[in-house]
C-alpha cells in the first residue's frame, strides 16, 4: 500500500485543569486520547461525534494550531510534530483549514480582497498584481463575483461567507483541507450549495479533505471513509457504505438510529441510549462508552478496547468483537 497523505499515530491532547494557590495542575481534560488514523490522497475522511468529543481538537492538532500532548502526525512523508515552529508555519501552505463559523473566522475589518490576498503575502507568492488577479479568479471559482472583492464580511450572507472561507483555504494550492463543521452554521438550502462546491473543487483540484461534522447525513454524503469519535477516542472507522449499512460499535448504532430521517414513512428501529456524555475530565474507566452502552459486559468497565481492523476498511474499538467477545 502506498503511503497515505496524512497519517496520525497515537495523538493525544490533555488540557490541564489548574487549581489552587500556585495553579497546580489538578487534573486533565482528556480532549483527545490516543487517536490514530490516516487519509489517502484525494479522498475525504469524515469525522463525526457528539459535541465535545474532541473532533475540533484533533483537527487543530493536525496543523499544530494546538500542540499535541503526545503522538505523531506524518504529512506527505514529513513528520510535522517534530519540525520547528517556523517550518510548521511554512508547511501550512500545504494544509489549510475551513472553519465552522464563517463570520467569526473572517476579520471584520478587512475587505474580502485583503482576506484572500493574505495567505499569498504570507507565503510570498506572486507580486501584488498577480495576487490581485488570483484573488479575483478564486472568487469566481467559488461562485462569487470579482466585484465582491472590495466588500467586507458582514455584507455577505452565511453561505457566501463560507465560500470566502473556502476560497481563502484554496489560495495557496494546498493538498489537504481540514474542514471543521463547515456547513453546521448554514441553512439546509445553503448547506447543499456549499457541499456541492466542495465536492466540485475536490475533483477539479485533486484535494484531500478531512471533514468534521456532527450531521451524519452530511458526512455520509461527502465522505469516502468515516471515523466516529466518542469522548476523545476513535471508536469506529470504516468506508462510509459499510459504516452506515452495518455499524458495529454500539455507539455508532445508537447514533445512527437517533438521527431523524426526513421521511415520515420510514420506520427505524430506535436504540435510545440513556444519559449524557460523561465529562472528558473524568472519563469512565475501561471503554468510555460503557456507562451508556446497552451491551455492557464486565470487561468493558476494566479494559480499554483497541481499535482493530475487523475486516478490510472497517475498524472498531469494542469488546463485543475482540477476544473478549465470547464472555
Amino acid at each position: 500500500m502506498t503511503e497515505p497523505l496524512l497519517r496520525v499515530e497515537g495523538l493525544k491532547k490533555y488540557f490541564p485543569i489548574r487549581k489552587g494557590l500556585l495553579s497546580r495542575v489538578s487534573g486533565h481534560v482528556k480532549a483527545v486520547d490516543d487517536v490514530s488514523f490516516y487519509v489517502n490522497k484525494g479522498e475525504t475522511l469524515g469525522i463525526v461525534g457528539e459535541s465535545g468529543c474532541g473532533k475540533s481538537t484533533t483537527g487543530r492538532m493536525l496543523m499544530r494550531l494546538l500542540e499535541p500532548t503526545e503522538g505523531k502526525v506524518f504529512f506527505d512523508g514529513k513528520e510535522l510534530t517534530s519540525i520547528s515552529n517556523d517550518d510548521m508555519r511554512k508547511a501550512r501552505r500545504e494544509i489549510q483549514m475551513v472553519f465552522q463559523d464563517p463570520y467569526a473566522s473572517l476579520n471584520p475589518r478587512h475587505t474580502i480582497e485583503k482576506i484572500l490576498e493574505e495567505p499569498l503575502i504570507v507565503h510570498g507568492i506572486g507580486d501584488s498584481k498577480e495576487r490581485k488577479k488570483k484573488v479575483r479568479d478564486f472568487l469566481e471559482i467559488v461562485g462569487l463575483s470579482s466585484y465582491h472583492a472590495k466588500r467586507y464580511p458582514h455584507q455577505f450572507s452565511g453561505g457566501q461567507r463560507q465560500r470566502i472561507g473556502i476560497a481563502r483555504a484554496l489560495m495557496t494550492n494546498p493538498k489537504l483541507i481540514i474542514a471543521d463543521e463547515p456547513v453546521s452554521a448554514l441553512d439546509v438550502s445553503i448547506q447543499a450549495q456549499v457541499l456541492n462546491l466542495m465536492q466540485d473543487l475536490q475533483k477539479e483540484l485533486n484535494l484531500t479533505y478531512i471533514f468534521i461534522a456532527h450531521d451524519l447525513g452530511v458526512v455520509r454524503h461527502i465522505s469516502d471513509r468515516v471515523g466516529v469519535m466518542y469522548l476523545g477516542k476513535m471508536v469506529e472507522v470504516a468506508v462510509s457504505e459499510k459504516l452506515y449499512d452495518k455499524p458495529l460499535h454500539p455507539y455508532t448504532q445508537a447514533l445512527l438510529s437517533a438521527v431523524p430521517v426526513p421521511d415520515p414513512n420510514f420506520v427505524r428501529e430506535q436504540i435510545l441510549i440513556k444519559g449524557d456524555i460523561p465529562s472528558p475530565s473524568n472519563p469512565p474507566s475501561g471503554c468510555t462508552f460503557h456507562t451508556r452502552c446497552p451491551f455492557k459486559m464486565d470487561v468493558c468497565t476494566k479494559i480499554v478496547p483497541k481499535l482493530e481492523e475487523l475486516e478490510t476498511g472497517h475498524s472498531v474499538a469494542c469488546h463485543l468483537y475482540g477476544e473478549h467477545a465470547q464472555q
Binding site: 473566522s105 475587505t111 507565503h123 450549495q193
Partner: protein, 297 residues
C-alpha cells in the same frame, strides 16, 4: 459550475460605495441623537479653541483693576474677575487649554498603555505578571492622590499636570488593551490567520491591533472627559496651570475668594468644564453604541 449560483444576489445594494466597518459605525453614530449632540458640543468647543483669540471680546490678561468683579452685563457678558478681566474671553481661551490637556494626556496614556497592554497580553508569562502587578499597584492608589503626588514631584505646571493625568490613566488603557488582546487572541479569525501560516508579529499588527482599536477609541473619548475634569481639579488645587493662564479649574480656584460676593466668577468656568465634559461623554457613549455591535438593539 455556473449552475451553482445564479448571478443574482440579494446581498447589499450594488452601489460602489464600500461600506466598511468604520463607515457602518459612522452611519449608526450619525443616527444617534445623543451622539450627534455630543459631537456638536465637542466641535463647538474645538472651534472655540481654534479661533478663540479672534472671537474673544477682550484680551485675556488685560487687567483693569477699575473694572473688578462686575456683574454680567452687555459689555461683559459673563462679568469680570477680580483683575477686571473679561470672564467670557478667558473662558474662550481656556477651551484651548482644557482640550489640549484632555487630548494629549489621553494620547500619552493610550500610547504607553497600549504598548504595555500588548506586551502583557501577547507575550504573557512573567512579563504579563509583572506588568499586571504594576497596574494593580497603580490602580490601588486613589487616583487623585497619585496625581497630586506626581505633580508634587515634578512641580506644579500645566505640563506636569498633563503628565500626571497621563500616568494615572495608563493602567486603565493597559488593562483594556491587554484584555482585548487576550480575547481577540481567541477569536476564530486569529486561528484562521495562524492556519494560513501567518507570523505572530503580523497577526498582532494586522489583526489584533486594528480590532482592539474600537474600544480604545471609545475609552479614549471618555477618558478625555475625565482628563479634563482631573486637570481642572489639579488646577483647582493650585497644582495645574499657573497664573495667569486662563485654565478653567484655576479660574474656579481663583474665583473662590469671591464666592459670596461674585458667584458668577465661579459659576461660568465650572459650567464650561461641565459642558465640555458632557460633550465628550455624550460622544463617547454614541461611539460605544456605534462601534460595539453588542450594544445595538
Amino acid at each position: 459550475m455556473a449552475k451553482m449560483e445564479p448571478k443574482s444576489t440579494n446581498v447589499a445594494p450594488q452601489s460602489d460605495k464600500v461600506a466598511g466597518p468604520w463607515y457602518e459605525a459612522w452611519r449608526s453614530f450619525k443616527k444617534s441623537k445623543v451622539a450627534v449632540v455630543g459631537a456638536g458640543i465637542v466641535l463647538f468647543f474645538i472651534i472655540v479653541a481654534l479661533i478663540g483669540p479672534l472671537i474673544a471680546p477682550q484680551g485675556i490678561n488685560e487687567q483693569a483693576l477699575g473694572n473688578r468683579l462686575l456683574k454680567p452685563s452687555g459689555q461683559f457678558w459673563l462679568g469680570t474677575d477680580d483683575f477686571g478681566r473679561d470672564i467670557l474671553s478667558r473662558i474662550i481661551h481656556g477651551a484651548r487649554i482644557s482640550l489640549w490637556v484632555g487630548f494629549f494626556s489621553v494620547i500619552g496614556s493610550v500610547v504607553v498603555g497600549s504598548i504595555l497592554g500588548i506586551v502583557a497580553g501577547y507575550y504573557g508569562k512573567w512579563i504579563d505578571t509583572i506588568i499586571s502587578r504594576v497596574f494593580d499597584i497603580m490602580l490601588a492608589f486613589p487616583s487623585i492622590l497619585l496625581a497630586i503626588a506626581v505633580v508634587s514631584v515634578l512641580g506644579p505646571s500645566l505640563q506636569n499636570a498633563l503628565i500626571a493625568i497621563a500616568i494615572i490613566n495608563v493602567p486603565n488603557f493597559g488593562r483594556l488593551i491587554r484584555s482585548k488582546v487576550l480575547s481577540i487572541k481567541e477569536e476564530e479569525y486569529i486561528t484562521s490567520a495562524k492556519a494560513i501560516g501567518m507570523q505572530d508579529i503580523r497577526i498582532l499588527f494586522s489583526h489584533i491591533l486594528p480590532n482592539s482599536m474600537a474600544p480604545v477609541i471609545v475609552q479614549g473619548t471618555l477618558a478625555i472627559a475625565t482628563a479634563i475634569i482631573e486637570a481642572a481639579a489639579l488646577g483647582f488645587l493650585g497644582l495645574g496651570a499657573q497664573a495667569p493662564t486662563p485654565e478653567w479649574g484655576k479660574m474656579l480656584a481663583d474665583a473662590r475668594v469671591n464666592f459670596i460676593n461674585a458667584p458668577w466668577t465661579m459659576f461660568f468656568p465650572g459650567l464650561a468644564i461641565m459642558l465640555t465634559v458632557l460633550g465628550f461623554n455624550l460622544m463617547g457613549d454614541g461611539m460605544r453604541d456605534a462601534l460595539d455591535p453588542r450594544m445595538k438593539s
